[in-house]
């Protein structure tokens, strides 16, 4: 029993983090040092998860009982800002990267690429999901479940969750280089929009955001958030069966902000590169 319960919980939480890591890993294709950055993000996230789980009671009681919501909302919005920084940077430099990758066919240096931003995104995702696994594990241990059963369940859940992250990574790598960074940037923007909508949910739960808290519609009959597809889409594009008006506002505002930011930066970058700064690229 403990094996199955652990497997399912660990799988659900790992899946969410693994999808984020999978997207970040593919978006940083070609960066020689990316394994180190992503690995550091995962390690920081795990360390943070243990700390957050240990101090969960204190966090929950902080800020007159809304510490947990503030913690989640702040983490999510920080991740949104980091993703924003990265995609805007990429819209300036993505074309050079794609051209280099096509012509040279091997790793390019990261240059001034904001890898710290993506490391933070990975760390925040692992921390948020990981802290739930740790709390759940503490509970089972305190309840007298056997350690081998827990380890077996956790290991199976971890493998299954990571497998789906790996799957999305290799799936994304199949996108032709010409469209690759456009595709991964789009995925990152949708990921950020979904995170912003989740943050709005947490702030409504804490009664910080008080307006437009009613669900606008219910698409649960079409796709349940409990299903694997529902969960996956929840992470990837922020799918929510019953979103509130405020969540929709946060979602759309993030999409618009990031897309306008990318458009402006890439338009500004296109002008000087056509002059003497860079030799024209043969087509």
């Amino acid at each position: 029993m403990a094996v199955l319960a652990t497997l399912l919980l660990v799988f659900r939480e790992v899946l969410e983090a693994a999808l984020v890591v999978g997207i970040v890993a593919s978006a940083t294709r070609g960066v020689a040092s990316r394994a180190r950055w992503i690995g550091s993000g995962i390690a920081l996230g795990i360390a943070g998860a243990v700390m957050v789980a240990t101090f969960a009671g204190w966090i929950a009681d902080a800020l007159s009982g809304s510490g947990q919501e503030w913690f989640n909302a702040t983490g999510l919005l920080a991740a949104v800002a980091m993703i924003g920084w990265h995609v805007v940077w990429m819209s300036k430099h993505g074309r050079e990267l794609a051209t280099q990758m096509q012509s040279v066919g091997r790793d390019v240096t990261s240059g001034a690429r904001p890898m710290t931003a993506l490391m933070a995104v990975v760390a925040i995702a692992v921390l948020r999901e990981g802290s739930e696994i740790v709390l759940f594990g503490y509970g089972l241990l305190a309840g007298g479940s056997s350690v081998p059963a827990l380890m077996l369940g956790a290991l199976l859940g971890l493998v299954a969750g990571v497998a789906l992250g790996v799957l999305i990574y290799f799936g994304l790598l199949k996108i032709p280089v010409r469209h690759f960074f456009g595709a991964t940037n789009t995925l990152l923007v949708l990921l950020a929009a979904g995170m912003a909508a989740s943050a709005a949910g947490f702030l409504a739960q804490a009664d910080v955001l008080q307006r437009w808290t009613q669900p606008l519609w219910n698409s649960g009959w079409l796709l349940s958030e409990d299903s694997l597809a529902g969960r996956t889409l929840h992470v990837l594009i922020g799918y929510t069966a019953q979103p509130s008006g405020m969540q929709l506002l946060f979602y759309v505002a993030t999409l618009v902000l990031l897309m306008v930011g990318m458009r402006l930066v890439s338009a500004a970058a296109a002008k000087p590169s056509r002059s003497a700064l860079q030799p024209p690229v043969a087509t």
């Binding site: 949104v80 739960q205 009613q214």
Partner: protein, 108 residues
């Protein structure tokens, strides 16, 4: 650009006012079960749900229908603001013990 936008968004959003007149309802967790497992709350009204965990281990109050998730540690309680909800049934569960921790809020 992005940060300015986010700040503007947060500034436009209404901030917390006094929440003194919000009706309160209490759910208790014991032996990884919610009681009452079915509770009626007023529809079209914001309510404050107090989840009291009498177990020694943590639980996560979660509901997709309510769009809510919050961890409650052992022997502790949390507040979760809900609604205003349209009349209907809103199931919720304890994420850490889904086989037993199930319940429904009925907005009427």
């Amino acid at each position: 650009m992005l940060r300015v936008g986010l700040m503007a968004l947060l500034a436009v959003a209404p901030m917390a006012a006094g929440a003194a007149d919000v009706p309160e309802f209490t759910l208790t967790i014991q032996d990884h079960r919610f009681s009452p497992a079915e509770m009626t709350i007023p529809a079209d009204t914001k309510v404050k749900l107090i989840v009291v965990n009498k177990d020694a281990t943590a639980e996560e109050f979660e509901s997709h229908e309510l769009n809510r998730e919050k961890v409650v540690t052992g022997n502790a309680s949390i507040n979760v603001y809900i609604g205003p909800l349209k009349a209907g049934r809103y199931p919720y569960f304890g994420d850490f013990h889904q086989d037993t921790a199930q319940g429904t809020l009925i907005a009427r």
